[in-house]
């Protein structure tokens, strides 16, 4: 079977890869593209550990075929920091210990970033609803929710609307 050739944009850079027609985007990210920050938790769209954005829309990369990336723009956890400078969400997660084992963390960060881009002033309830598709078995969620709320406040106070490469 001939592999499909896909041309796409990942974290602002042009990217090309080969995939099988049945490969998921998560397979392509973690395989040929070597971007292993996105994790496979459930492979059925329940846990959110593989969260990425597709044309700025939050999706599970395990529920997307790799072939669908053709001509679209993807963002992954690898595009979140500027070199050594962490995104305010990443920095806050560290400061507030909003992670333990780390498996859910990249998905939590990508999803939280998508929320703050859409809604810079979310309520606690809005954060909890938005992140309902990101499962964490360590923290009990409270530290994560508080870190997102504090980051939102910081970013508003510092006038940061976008933090992107």
């Amino acid at each position: 079977m001939t592999k499909l050739h896909v041309s796409t944009t990942i974290n602002g850079e042009p990217a090309e890869f080969l995939c099988e027609p049945y490969d998921t985007m998560l397979d392509a990210l973690r395989g040929p593209l070597g971007l292993t920050g996105s994790k496979e938790g459930c492979a059925s769209g329940d846990c959110g550990a593989c969260s990425i954005t597709l044309d700025d829309r939050l999706v599970c990369s395990c529920l997307m075929l790799a072939a669908e990336a053709e001509g679209h723009e993807l963002r992954t956890i690898e595009g979140m920091a500027h070199g050594d400078k962490l995104h305010p969400l990443q920095q806050k997660f560290l400061e507030m210990a909003a992670l333990q084992c780390g498996i859910c963390t990249s998905g939590m960060l990508v999803a939280s970033d998508a929320l703050l881009q859409k809604n810079p002033r979310p309520s606690e309830e809005e954060v909890r609803f938005w992140l309902a598709g990101n499962l964490c078995r360590c923290t009990g969620y409270d530290k994560i929710v508080r870190a997102v709320l504090e980051t939102a406040t910081d970013m508003r106070e510092q006038g940061i609307r976008e933090f992107r490469q």
Partner: protein, 290 residues
């Protein structure tokens, strides 16, 4: 999974000829949130996947000349929610579509996929039935229309003919004083599958219910249109007697399964309870109270 082919045609004609030629081995993919899970578990092994998201008609929302809406089958829930008018006119349909899965799933999952997946518990289906939505189907023999309630044939099965694709939903124009609502019962607050789902659409004129439609999900092999419940509401002021009669009609329509989510007795009783609650919300919205 070998010998699988992926196509993403830009026209409906291309999609239909490829889909029809591949026969029963082909699957249509809208958001893929059911299909990819089924492929992963080995439940389906399609020889051909036809991705319909590059077909403009299937990914757009239009207001019709008469004041209704035409919603492409592959429009994701998140996109429907961002439409400036849709949720104001059809709040019940929107809340039902938006109950399907997480934020991530909403970025992809569509009402078309929800209907064609054929689950008796699909959240958007009772609301679409209550709304009186009609689907446009296109196949090798041309186009036809079908009321949403006629689409499901049983768990995982639809009445679409071989090679037919669900193109769009058409929702009728709304008179003044009309609104709708959808409620589902689940054992937790979010991220679960309906034990019972009820959609109600109604029109109030001077406090009297002049039209009503009731869709009932997760209590039978297919989502049901409950005409007896609607009849009990029409002509009434939605007083207790009318609501009790409509609730009994919903319970009487139930032919549920007994499973870990809910027993037969529980689902049957809750169908009636939810009818009353859903009708109350729809009536409040129809009276202008949102």
């Amino acid at each position: 999974m070998t010998d699988i082919q992926y196509l993403s045609p830009r026209t409906l004609d291309e999609a239909i000829s490829a889909f029809a030629a591949a026969g029963s081995a082909a699957r249509i993919m809208a958001g893929g949130t059911d299909l990819l899970v089924q492929m992963r578990s080995g439940a389906v092994r399609p020889g051909l996947i036809v991705d319909i998201k590059k077909i403009a008609e299937m990914t757009t929302i239009e207001e019709t000349a008469e004041g209704g809406f035409r919603v492409g089958a592959a429009v994701p829930g998140a996109v429907l929610a961002e439409h400036p008018r849709f949720g104001k006119v059809w709040p019940g349909v929107l809340e039902a579509v938006n109950l399907i899965g997480s934020t991530q799933v909403q970025g992809r999952a569509s009402a078309g996929g929800n209907l064609c997946n054929g689950s008796p518990a699909g959240d958007s289906v009772p609301a679409m039935i209550a709304a009186g939505a009609v689907v446009t189907l296109q196949g090798p023999n041309g186009r036809r229309e079908m009321p949403v309630e006629n689409v499901p044939a049983g768990p995982g099965r639809t009445n679409l003919l071989p090679g037919e694709i669900l193109v769009s939903f058409t929702l009728p124009p709304r008179p003044k004083g009309a609104s709708d609502a959808y409620l589902r019962m689940i054992p937790r607050t979010e991220m679960d599958i309906a034990v019972v789902g009820v959609g109600v659409s109604l029109t109030l004129k001077d406090g009297v219910c002049t039209t009503a439609r009731v869709g009932l999900g997760a209590v039978a092999p297919t989502v049901l249109l409950v005409e007896a419940a609607a009849k009990a509401l029409i002509g009434s002021k939605l007083d207790d007697a009318a609501l009790n009669a409509a609730a009994s009609a919903c319970s009487a329509a139930c032919r549920p399964i007994d499973d870990k989510r809910g027993t037969i007795a529980y689902r049957t009783k809750v169908a009636g309870v939810l009818l009353k609650r859903t009708a109350a919300i729809a009536a409040q919205r129809a009276a202008g109270g949102n």
